[in-house]
Symmetry: C2
Subunit: 350 residues, 2 copies
């Protein structure tokens, strides 16, 4: 058995792979591949509709939120979002707590002013800043709920009356939270939603239509809402993989059920790393991510043994992001507890 | 046997479906699904590299052209391209010869001025305008080589010294032409390149870096070139399907070989439609598309019989685009000559 700790694109449930492969050969007994069906057919419409409904159900969204499946990944949202929400003379508030947040800040500055309310750059983003004030007159407040690269996560939702916006690419649907408190959430699919090539955006319509600039059609959220995520040819197969993954999540009991498993996985791994000499998690205890566990190995000899053992036991994707080094083990929804148990044993036995 | 005349997403070679399904279960004997491998692995890098090389080879591109695989479909290029190439005070020249060209014009106007040098709107875009003059001082000249919805196609490349830009979404790689004469070509993959969810952009670097506006990172072609189409997580699986489709095209003899087959398919179908009473191609003879054959059926009784026969003989995707009505039969690269023979027989026998 391969244990896939990839940070994304990452492991998906086996039944998703099986169903996806089947659909490529013969989609719903039509004799056609899902890759050759028209996107404006009832067949595909039912895929999209069910994916939207499941996302709403799993996130327990109220009637005010729209769910879109868009092209371009979260990196496109870094600029599409301020393009839609931030006037040139306005200021948006951002929390700077990792590589992706930094990129989001840079893109927002193309369209307006950015007030960085707090940053954890001083300690290489190994903690989540606290005690900052969100200005009441900012256009919106943006933060990253989980920092994939640095391994920090922010479970509590900041208190503010301005629109809350979150990049949830790497922890969406992994724990229960009040998704309704957000004006806009975006997430690249390739961790907990599905495969690479599509991006989920959850938003409240009332925040739209307030900027002065002319928007290209493809960048205008209102047009995507109107067209039901079919303003142009959508990434059909990627959306189908989202549907399969969301179905799986519902089947195993939804977000509450997966949260329990995710907690068990993270608890076991952090316990192991804290106990085992030579292993050192890099993140402040209270801010540790349950999705991406980042650590160092202090002795070169131990490091060599660890990597060898990983190779032998088919544990892949444990190397840290090229920008921070060390090790990173990702524990997304689809990663079974067994994989973490195997890794924990491997570490204890070194 | 199902005959798939879909306009896109559309038929792909059977071996592409087989290989794609296999890769979802076990990619290159790694024991991993292609949906769960990291995009920054040697495995995926080899997919992307080979796809780029094959595209260059099949299009016979010289060393000046870069090939990118981007998110967002051709509709994103409608605005990304002028965003990169057209200053606010500049004018770009556009040929208005169909629905998609009209959309491209609208998006360009968000960024600068547009001079529509000619239009065939007067006759519902059923012909390609001729004898127009391309202004020598325009920033670039843009046209659509094949009009998917209206069924016209433009094989000859206009003479001009300004940068030539083409939307080739629906006829790229279907006939031999001098791709090197274009400064920029873009094409949604879901017809002749692969599956929906990725977009190929072929461009010359020297046209870039000349606009004054600040570009969001994801919209800056230079950044995508620098990052080798990996500025963010690429649509991994969609690019893999492109690779498989390009490999197939090379294997059967390349663009010259497929052009012969495409000519045979289109010739047979147009001949049938011209000869059969009650059937009426809508496009001027000299401008007929080899990719999308648009026609009307003049008698309601014949229309009913045609649709019934199509159902019986599993011919799908023959209905015209919702915006123009009538019928449309798409003959993309992967559609076998046998399907056109079967359709031709069906029509003659009505």
């Amino acid at each position: 058995m391969i244990h896939n700790f990839n940070a994304g694109p990452s492991i998906l449930p086996k039944e998703v792979f099986d169903e996806a492969a089947k659909a490529i050969l013969n989609f719903r007994d039509t004799g056609l591949s899902i890759l050759e069906i028209g996107h404006r057919t009832a067949l595909f419409q039912s895929v999209l509709d069910e994916a939207v409904l499941l996302a709403k159900e799993l996130m327990k969204l109220d009637g005010d939120h729209e769910v879109l499946f868009l092209h371009g990944g979260a990196t496109t949202q870094f600029f599409q979002m301020p393009m839609n929400l931030l006037n040139e003379n306005q200021t948006a508030a951002y929390l700077d707590c990792g590589t992706w947040g930094t990129k989001a800040i840079k893109e927002a500055r193309v369209f307006g002013n950015v007030d960085v309310v707090a940053s954890s750059k001083d300690k290489n983003y190994t903690y989540i800043p606290k005690g900052y004030v969100i200005p009441a007159d900012a256009a919106y407040f943006h933060y990253t709920t989980n920092n994939t690269i640095e391994g920090t996560e922010m479970y509590s939702i900041p208190e503010t009356n301005i629109p809350l916006i979150a990049d949830m690419s790497s922890d969406i649907l992994s724990y229960e939270t009040d998704y309704n408190r957000f004006a806009l959430i975006y997430a690249g699919a390739q961790k907990n939603i599905g495969a690479a090539g599509v991006n989920m955006v959850v938003l409240r319509k009332d925040i739209l239509g307030k900027v002065d600039r002319k928007l290209p059609g493809m960048m205008d959220y209102r047009k995507h809402i109107e067209a039901g995520s079919m303003l142009n040819t959508p990434p059909v197969f990627a959306i189908y993989v989202c549907l399969l993954t969301l179905r799986w999540l519902k089947k195993i009991g939804g977000v509450g059920a997966i949260e329990k498993i995710n907690r068990a996985k993270a608890d076991l791994l952090y316990k192991t790393l804290d106990e085992k000499e030579g292993f050192q998690p890099t993140v402040a205890k209270e801010d540790r991510s349950r999705m991406n566990v980042v650590f160092l190995i202090n002795e070169p000899e131990l490091e060599k043994k660890f990597l060898e053992a990983c190779r032998e036991q088919q544990m892949i994707g444990v190397k840290g992001h090229r920008s921070v080094g060390g090790y990173r083990v990702s524990l997304y929804n689809a990663l079974p507890l067994e994989s973490v148990k195997a890794l924990s044993e491997l570490i204890y036995q070194l």
